[in-house]
Amino acid sequence: MKKTMYEKIWDSHFVVEAAGQAPLLYVDRHLMHEVTSPQAFEGLRNANRKVRNPHSILATMDHCVPTKNRNLPIADPIAKKQIETMADNCKENDLNLYDMKNPNNGVIHIVVPEHGFVPPGMIVVCGDSHTATHGAFGALAFGIGTSEVEHVMATQTLPQKKSKTMLIQIDGELSKYASAKDIALAITGKIGTAGGTGHVIEYAGEAISKLSMEGRMTLCNMAIEAGARAGLVAPDQKTYDYLKGREFVPSGENWDKALAYWKTLPSDHGAKYDTTIILKAADIEPQVTWGTSPEQVTGVNNIIPAPEDFDDKIKSQACKDALNYMGLKAHTKITDIAVDLIFIGSCTNGRIEDFRIAADITKGTKVADNVTAIAVPGSYHVKKQAEDEGLDKIFTEAGWEWREPGCSMCLAMNGDELTAGQRSASTSNRNFEGRQGKGGRTHLVSPAMAAAAASAGHFVDIRNL
């Protein structure tokens, strides 16, 4: 039988299906951060259970960590306790933790690939929905709840129902300055935030093969915004080249064995998917969200829709509510929207490539009056590399703040946040009400679009720069 990549990974990780229960899948790698793990450790302790395979786990601290004055104690006592609890739990269970002071620290989904902790063909989980990121390597990577975190620690398995498969094929080449982020947003705009529910998406086509590993990570990262459990890209030479030599990647004889296995992973020619969507890369403009859901998105040259433009009653109401929350009028041109704050960072767009392209656009410009612009590298490694390339100077000379790594304004748990009514151009992944601070208004964009908005003070079509 012809199999998709998802089916191959499923089959090779199937443990058992007990009568009346869901199939059990084996979990190879388990990622952790401070927010969704403490209650799982507590559960283990209460039930007197142990972590089955401590070396399958890699943990960071990212959500609550400050992005400036790292040498000072964390001001928020509850956040401080969460950070300390994480350190204690990892120590008690002998887990590999890159804490705040560790040179490998950063946002979990940025750090993990830097060390090659997730090889192709494996099952990877984390108490975090953006675990989907690691699908870029052809690994089945998905987010789980805290009870499941506990389940995986205790058993190294998860009861799972088989997902449906969706192929999203992007034909042809992207236009200049259109990026993986724009593909991700355009897909969410097209299929909606529930479009991928119950599915694992496989991304394929010329535009996807041409993406860098960083781009593929950005794309898979946002599979969850389209409602999918996971996103996958078939491993290829780019994947192997990226992995080779990294800390957790095999070498010598084991490299050859691993490589031979990885090459069997891509979906068989003619394998069947439950749903197939084909898009033309050339049609994907730089995207800007205008509402409070990632599906409320359009091309930079368009206008904001009006509630009457939607036939569906609920969508129409959602448009009305969103415009109200966002303080925007229907039919305003996207390029007429003025912004107050620019954020480049997060597990979606906090990688070196993101800062390179943003710096390229920032070079020789100045942040517009009344605009604050902050660049938050996804990890210390990204930070260092950017500094080695002199990118930090480009940003600071243009009036940007250059920060320490962390999730920062992606979800504003660490004190970096919008005030009510402030409007951001943000390279993160969610524009939900209050996500970046109560009353804050978020527009999701690519790093290039964010950088261009910083100097202009409003959105601009970067293709005209």
């Binding site: 058992v16 869901a22 969704t36 398995t157 119950g198 748990m413 009400e433």
Partner: protein, 203 residues
């Protein structure tokens, strides 16, 4: 885990779709290291005014919905993050049943780990339940998990689908981890094979 039994309860209505986990439990409450006490923060930013008083315009603050165990809500409920704090808050507030047309996958799974039954209705079925609540705020529905049935006074009830294993575990209040550990021998056996097939993961 608490066993889910047949019950009759007030059904509260929220006519909103794509309600995300950031709304269900805003991130400022995610810093706790305990599992309990999240109900007081459920829908915090919608539920309370700046000064901490109840927002009279928010659906769940209506007197008729006090004590509701059933939440009837629009499409794609629970989208966004994987935070289990969302079902913890819902359960702690007092809900044990949600009725919508669809849920985000992770949220849906999380519900079953917390004695919450997320029922999937068709659009038409949901519309009728919503209209019945609108016409008679404070109305009670009966949820019969065993027979997979909702019963309403105006006759808008219906049969619903739920996976057999999920239904069984929920109605008996079974601990998932305990169930899986019964399969330890199979896990050990698989792991031996895994070490041979993927030796590079074990070095």
């Amino acid at each position: 885990m608490q066993a889910y039994t047949k019950h009759q309860s007030i059904a509260a209505l929220m006519r909103r779709s794509n309600v995300d986990t950031d709304q269900i439990i805003p991130k400022q409450f995610l810093k706790k290291v305990e599992r309990s006490g999240f109900g007081q923060h459920l829908f915090h930013d919608w539920r309370f005014n700046e000064d901490g008083s109840d927002n009279k315009d928010f659906e769940l603050n209506k007197a008729a919905f006090k004590g509701a165990k059933i939440l009837v809500v629009g499409d794609n409920f629970g989208c966004g993050s994987s935070r289990e704090h969302a079902p913890w808050a819902i359960e702690d507030y007092g809900f044990n049943t949600i009725i919508s047309t669809s849920y985000a996958d992770i949220f849906y799974n999380n519900c079953f780990k917390n004695s919450i039954l997320p029922i999937v209705a068709t659009k038409d079925q949901l519309d009728r339940l919503m209209d019945e609540i609108d016409a008679n705020e404070g109305v009670s529905f009966t949820i019969d998990l065993e027979n997979q049935q909702i019963i309403t006074p105006a006759g808008n009830g219906f049969k619903f689908e739920v996976d057999a294993f999920r239904k069984d575990n929920l109605s008996k209040g079974l601990d998932d981890i305990g169930l899986t550990l019964e399969q330890s021998a199979s896990i050990d056996k698989y792991e031996e094979k895994h070490k041979q097939n993927f030796p590079w993961l074990w070095t």
